[in-house]
C-alpha cells in the first residue's frame, strides 16, 4: 500500500457571516493521501490553519458516510464534486491528482443563504415539509396491524427509492433555475405510491408546491441537471409523478 502524496492548491470561499461579503482565498496544501476523504483533507487544512493562528474553514458535516445530508460543498463547479453517486463526505482524494487546483464553494441558491464560509441555511427545505410532508396519524398505539394492508412490492420499492432522498440540496445547487422540484417530488411521490398517503394527497401536493414557491426556489425547465448530481440517484420520474398529482389536485380543487 505504499503511495505517493499530493500537493494541491485550494481556492475556498470565505465569508464571515450572512451580512459580510465573501471572497475566494487560496491555500496551498501538501502531503495529501489518495485514501483520505475530501473532508479529511479539509480537516488537515483546518488543523494547519489553527496551528498558524488563523480561523479554520467552516463547513457542515456529521455522519461522514453519505446519509445525513449535512455535507454540501460545490467542488470544481459540481455539487458534491466530480464522482457520481456520492456525497462530499464520500468523495475520496484519489479522484484528484498531484498539482491540481480545487475550487470549493458553498451550495448556491437564493433559498439557501450563506451563514458562514461554506455553510448555508437550508431550513427552507424543512418548511416545505411542514406544509405537507407527513401522513396525519397520531401515535395512539391503536393503529391497525402493519400487515392489514398489503402493498405490492413494486410500489413499496419505488416508494423506498424516492424516500432515500437525504435532503442535501445538491439538486437545487446544480440547477440553473435553483429549482427544488426533485427534492419536493421525492416526498410527494413516496406518499402517492402508498395507500396510507392517498387520503391527503391533494392537499399535500398543493401545499408543498405553494411553500416551495414562497421560499424562492425557481421553476423547473426539465434540464435534468439535478438527477445527474443527486448523490442518491433520485429519479426524474418522481417529478413526472408529482406534476401528475399536482394537475389532478388543481383540477379538482377548482371544481
Amino acid at each position: 500500500m505504499s503511495e505517493t502524496t499530493m500537493n494541491l492548491t485550494l481556492k475556498i470561499w470565505r465569508q464571515k457571516d450572512a451580512k459580510s461579503k465573501g471572497k475566494i482565498v487560496s491555500y496551498p496544501i501538501s502531503g495529501i493521501s489518495g485514501h483520505m476523504s475530501f473532508l479529511e483533507m479539509m480537516d488537515v487544512l483546518n488543523e494547519q490553519l489553527i496551528n498558524e493562528g488563523q480561523e479554520p474553514v467552516a463547513f457542515d458535516h456529521d455522519c461522514r458516510e453519505g446519509i445525513c445530508g449535512s455535507c454540501s460543498l460545490h467542488i470544481n463547479g459540481e455539487a458534491h464534486g466530480p464522482d457520481r453517486g456520492v456525497t462530499t463526505c464520500q468523495l475520496h482524494m484519489r479522484m484528484f491528482k498531484d498539482g491540481d487546483t480545487i475550487f470549493i464553494e458553498p451550495f448556491r441558491a437564493k433559498a439557501f443563504p450563506v451563514i458562514k464560509d461554506l455553510i448555508v441555511d437550508r431550513t427552507s427545505f424543512d418548511r416545505i415539509q411542514h406544509a405537507g410532508g407527513f401522513i396525519s396519524v397520531n401515535t395512539s398505539g391503536n393503529t391497525q396491524d402493519a400487515n392489514s394492508i398489503p402493498i405490492p412490492k413494486a410500489d413499496a420499492d419505488k416508494a423506498f427509492d424516492a424516500a432515500t432522498c437525504i435532503g442535501c440540496g445538491a439538486c437545487v445547487a446544480s440547477c440553473k433555475n435553483a429549482s427544488a422540484m426533485l427534492y419536493v417530488s421525492a416526498k410527494v411521490a413516496q406518499f402517492s405510491l402508498l395507500p396510507q398517503g392517498k387520503v391527503e394527497a391533494k392537499d399535500r401536493v398543493l401545499n408543498m408546491v405553494e411553500q416551495m414557491d414562497k421560499e424562492g426556489f425557481g421553476n423547473c425547465t426539465n434540464t435534468g441537471a439535478c438527477e445527474v448530481e443527486c448523490p442518491k440517484g433520485i429519479s426524474l420520474e418522481n417529478i413526472a409523478r408529482m406534476n401528475n398529482e399536482y394537475l389532478k389536485a388543481s383540477i379538482t380543487r377548482e371544481a
Partner: protein, 671 residues
C-alpha cells in the same frame, strides 16, 4: 436501603405495564397546552417523543445541534429494527424477545423495562407503517424480515441498508405535522449547555444558538434528554462526528446519576483505520456475517506475504486459512454476538495475524457464499453445465441484491472490489449501553428530568443485540414517555409558566458563560482535535476491548493529565459570538475528558467480565469455556449508578441490585 428507587410496578411481569398505565395520572386535554416540555434531541427517541407529546397537546420545544432534526445520528442506522410480530411463524413471542434481550445483555439489564420494550415492539411497526415508512416487502405485499446475531428467529424489519433513515424520516414527518400546527417549536443549530433546576425540579435549559453564539434561557415543566450515545469519547467510532455526551454530562453534574459508563459495544465489522488523518470509522452491517466467513492465515509467513503484497489472499488454500470463529464456536460460528466476535479478532491480531499494514484487520470473505448462491441459481435457471465463471457471476448477482449498497460503500472507501477479494474488517466502537440512570418511568434522579434512547442506560444490560437500539428509541418516545410524563405533569397544571428570570436561571447562564469565556481565553497552542485524539488513544489502548487493573489505573492518571493540559493549552480561534465550530468541539471535548475518567473508574470497579466489558482478570479457567469471559453474579449483579460530587475521580457509587424473577441466570455459551 439504596437511594435508588427503580419504581418497578407490582404484579406479574406480564401485567406490570398495563396496570401501571391504568393507575397513573393523566392530564386533562385543556390543561395540557398550559404545560411546556423541552425535548433535547431529535433522533428516534427525541423525535418520536416530541411528536407524541405535541399530539397530546403539550407545548413542546425541541432542540438539535444539526441544521435540521432529520440529520440526527439515528439517520445512519443500517440493518434493521426488531419487533415481536411473529409474522414468520417461527415461534417468536414477546417473551422470546424479552429473553433474548436479557440474555444478550449478559444479565445486566432490568427485567421489567426489557419486558415492556418487548411488549410495545409490535406497535412500533404498526405506527411506522401508518406513517408511510417504506419497509422491505415480500412479493405477496406483506412485510419482510431478516435475522441478526445472537438470536434464533427472524424478527428484524428493515428498509434495505437504510432502516434508521426511514424510521427517522417517519418521526421527522410526525414532528413536521406538529411544527406546522405550531405545537412544536423547533430550535435547530442550538446546543443545550446546562439544565436549570429550580426547587429540586428540572425547569429548563440554557442553550447556545450556534449561528449567533447567543446564550438563551428556555423554561419548561419537564425536560427530556434524548441526546444519543457517547462513543466518541474514543475519538474514532462509527458515530457521527457531532455525537457527544454534553447534554447527558451536564445533567449528571446537576444531580442525575450516570449508570454503567464502561459498557461499550465494539462492533466486529467495521472498515479498518487507514491512516493518522482518519476522522471516523465506517460500519459494515452485521447482516454481512450471514454470508461472510471470517479468517486470517494460519502461518505467519503468509501474513507477511499478504502485508507486503507478494501474495494475494485468494491464493491461500483452505488448509492455509484459520476460520477462527468457526474453530472456536462451532455452534454459532460467524454469527456469535458482537462482543465475542470482536474479542476473537483482537486476539488473532494481537498474536500477529492481522492482515494489513497496521496489523489490525481480518478478512471477511464472500467467496464461499458466491459459490453456493451461484450453484443454486444455476440449478434454478436450468443451467446444469454452467462454467465456473458463470457460477461466480450468478452468485455475485445474488450477493449484490442483498448487500449492494454496502459493497459499493466499501469499494468507495478502500478502493478494492469485495466481490473479487475478501473485505478487510476490524472492530470499532459503535454504541454505549451505559448512560443516564432512569427509573421505570424513564425519569432520572432529577425530578422532572427524563432520559430516553441511547442516552439512558435502561434496556440493553452489558451488551446490545443488533436492531434493538432503534426499537428502544422509538419505544421510549412513542409509547413510554407520553404516559409516564403525564403522571408527573398531572401535578403541574396549576404551576403556571416557569419564569426565566429566577436566580437559578441567572446562575446557570453565568456558569455557561464562565465555561465559554475560560475556554476562549486559554489561547493556547494546540487544537481541540489534538486533545480529543490523545484521549481517544488512551481510551482505546487502556479501556477498549480488554481491560485490566494496571491499564485502567494508568488511564485515569493519563486522562487527568490530558484534561489539565487541555484547560491550559487549547487554542480556539475566532469569537464566541459567532458560528464557531472549534468552540462547539471544545465544549464537547471538555465533557468527554471528564466522562473518560468516570468510564475508567467504573471499568476498574467492575472486576468481572460481562457483555462488552471484558476484564482480563476474570476469565474461565479449565473446562469447555476455557479463556472465555467470566461473569460474577455473586459480587456484581447490580447497576453501577455514579453520583457527581465535584470531580469525576470522586464520584460516589450507588448500586441498584438486579433481580431476575422471570429468567434464570445462566452462563452465556455460544460454543
Amino acid at each position: 436501603m439504596s437511594v435508588l428507587d427503580a419504581k418497578i410496578p407490582e404484579g406479574p411481569i406480564k401485567e406490570k405495564w398495563t396496570n401501571h398505565k391504568n393507575n397513573i395520572n393523566v392530564v386533562n386535554p385543556a390543561n395540557k397546552r398550559l404545560i411546556d416540555v423541552i425535548v433535547v434531541g431529535t433522533g428516534l427517541a427525541g423525535g418520536s417523543a416530541a411528536a407524541s407529546l405535541a399530539e397530546m397537546g403539550y407545548a413542546v420545544k425541541a432542540f438539535c445541534f444539526q441544521d435540521s432534526p432529520r440529520r440526527a445520528h439515528s439517520i445512519a442506522a443500517q440493518g434493521g429494527i426488531n419487533a415481536a410480530k411473529n409474522y414468520q411463524n417461527d415461534g417468536d413471542s414477546v417473551y422470546r424477545l424479552f429473553y433474548d434481550t436479557v440474555k444478550g445483555g449478559d444479565y445486566r439489564g432490568r427485567e421489567a423495562n426489557v419486558y415492556r420494550l418487548a411488549e410495545v415492539s409490535a406497535n412500533i411497526i404498526d405506527q411506522c407503517v401508518a406513517q408511510g415508512v417504506p419497509f422491505a416487502r415480500e412479493y405477496g405485499g406483506l412485510l419482510d424480515n431478516r435475522s441478526f446475531g445472537g438470536v434464533l428467529v427472524s424478527r428484524t424489519f428493515y428498509a434495505k441498508g437504510q432502516t434508521g433513515q426511514q424510521l427517522l424520516l417517519g418521526a421527522y414527518s410526525a414532528m413536521n405535522r406538529q411544527i406546522g400546527k405550531g405545537k412544536i417549536k423547533m430550535y435547530n443549530r442550538h446546543e443545550m449547555l446546562d439544565v436549570v433546576v429550580v426547587g429540586g425540579k428540572a425547569r429548563g435549559i440554557i442553550a447556545r444558538n450556534l449561528i449567533t453564539g447567543s446564550i438563551e434561557r428556555h423554561s419548561a415543566h419537564a425536560v427530556v434528554i434524548a441526546s444519543g450515545g457517547y462513543g466518541n469519547v474514543f475519538f474514532l467510532s462509527t458515530n457521527a462526528m457531532g455525537s457527544n455526551v454534553t447534554a447527558a454530562w451536564k445533567i449528571h453534574k446537576k444531580g442525575a446519576f450516570f449508570a454503567n459508563p464502561c459498557y461499550t459495544q465494539i462492533h466486529p465489522t467495521c472498515i479498518p483505520r487507514s491512516g493518522d488523518y482518519q476522522s471516523k470509522l465506517t460500519l459494515m452491517s452485521e447482516s454481512l456475517r450471514n454470508d461472510g466467513r471470517i479468517w486470517v492465515p494460519k502461518n505467519k509467513e503468509d501474513v507477511e506475504a499478504i502485508r507486503n503484497g507478494s501474495k494475494k489472499p485468494v491464493e491461500l488454500s483452505e488448509e492455509e486459512r484459520d476460520y477462527y470463529l468457526e474453530r472456536r464456536y462451532p455452534a454459532f460460528g460467524n454469527l456469535v454476538p458482537r462482543d465475542v466476535a470482536s474479542r476473537a479478532a483482537k486476539e488473532r491480531c494481537d498474536a500477529g495475524y492481522g492482515v494489513n499494514q497496521t496489523g489490525e484487520a481480518v478478512f471477511l470473505d464472500f467467496a464461499s457464499a458466491i459459490q453456493r448462491y451461484g450453484k443454486e441459481a444455476a440449478t434454478v435457471n436450468h443451467e446444469p453445465d454452467a462454467s465456473k465463471e458463470r457460477i461466480i457471476e450468478l452468485g455475485a448477482e445474488v450477493i449484490k441484491n442483498k448487500y449492494g449498497n454496502l459493497f459499493q460503500m466499501y469499494e468507495k472507501i478502500v478502493d478494492q472490489n469485495p466481490y473479487k477479494t475478501p473485505m478487510m474488517i476490524y472492530p470499532a466502537v459503535h454504541y454505549t449501553m451505559g448512560g443516564i440512570w432512569v427509573d421505570y418511568n424513564l425519569m432520572t434522579t432529577i425530578p422532572g428530568c427524563y432520559a430516553a434512547g441511547e442516552a439512558n442506560f435502561s434496556d440493553h444490560g452489558a451488551n446490545r443485540l443488533g436492531a434493538s437500539a432503534l426499537m428502544q428509541g422509538l419505544a421510549d418516545g412513542y409509547f413510554v414517555l407520553p404516559y409516564t410524563m403525564g403522571d408527573y405533569l398531572a401535578d403541574e397544571i396549576r404551576t403556571g409558566p416557569i419564569p426565566t428570570d429566577s436566580p437559578e436561571f441567572d446562575q446557570a447562564e453565568k456558569d455557561v458563560r464562565g465555561i465559554i469565556d475560560t475556554l476562549m481565553n486559554v489561547k493556547g497552542t494546540k487544537s481541540v482535535d489534538h486533545f480529543h485524539k490523545e484521549l481517544g488513544m488512551v481510551m482505546w489502548n487502556n479501556a477498549g476491548m480488554a481491560r485490566n487493573e494496571t491499564d485502567l489505573k494508568a488511564a485515569i492518571a493519563k486522562i487527568r493529565k490530558i484534561r489539565e493540559e487541555f484547560w491550559k493549552d487549547v487554542r480556539i480561534p475566532g469569537e464566541a459570538t459567532e458560528l464557531n465550530s472549534e468552540l462547539e468541539k471544545a465544549i464537547r471535548v471538555a465533557d468527554f475528558l471528564e466522562l473518560g475518567e468516570l468510564f475508567a473508574k467504573d471499568a476498574l470497579e467492575r472486576n468481572e467480565s460481562c457483555g462488552g466489558h471484558f476484564r482480563e482478570e476474570s476469565v474461565e479457567i479449565g473446562g469447555e469455556q476455557e479463556g472465555e469471559a467470566k461473569r460474577d453474579d455473586v459480587n456484581f449483579k447490580y447497576v453501577s449508578a455514579w453520583e457527581w460530587t465535584g470531580d469525576p475521580g470522586e464520584a460516589k457509587l450507588h448500586k441498584e441490585e438486579l433481580e431476575f424473577k422471570d429468567i434464570e441466570l445462566k452462563t452465556r455459551s455460544y460454543k
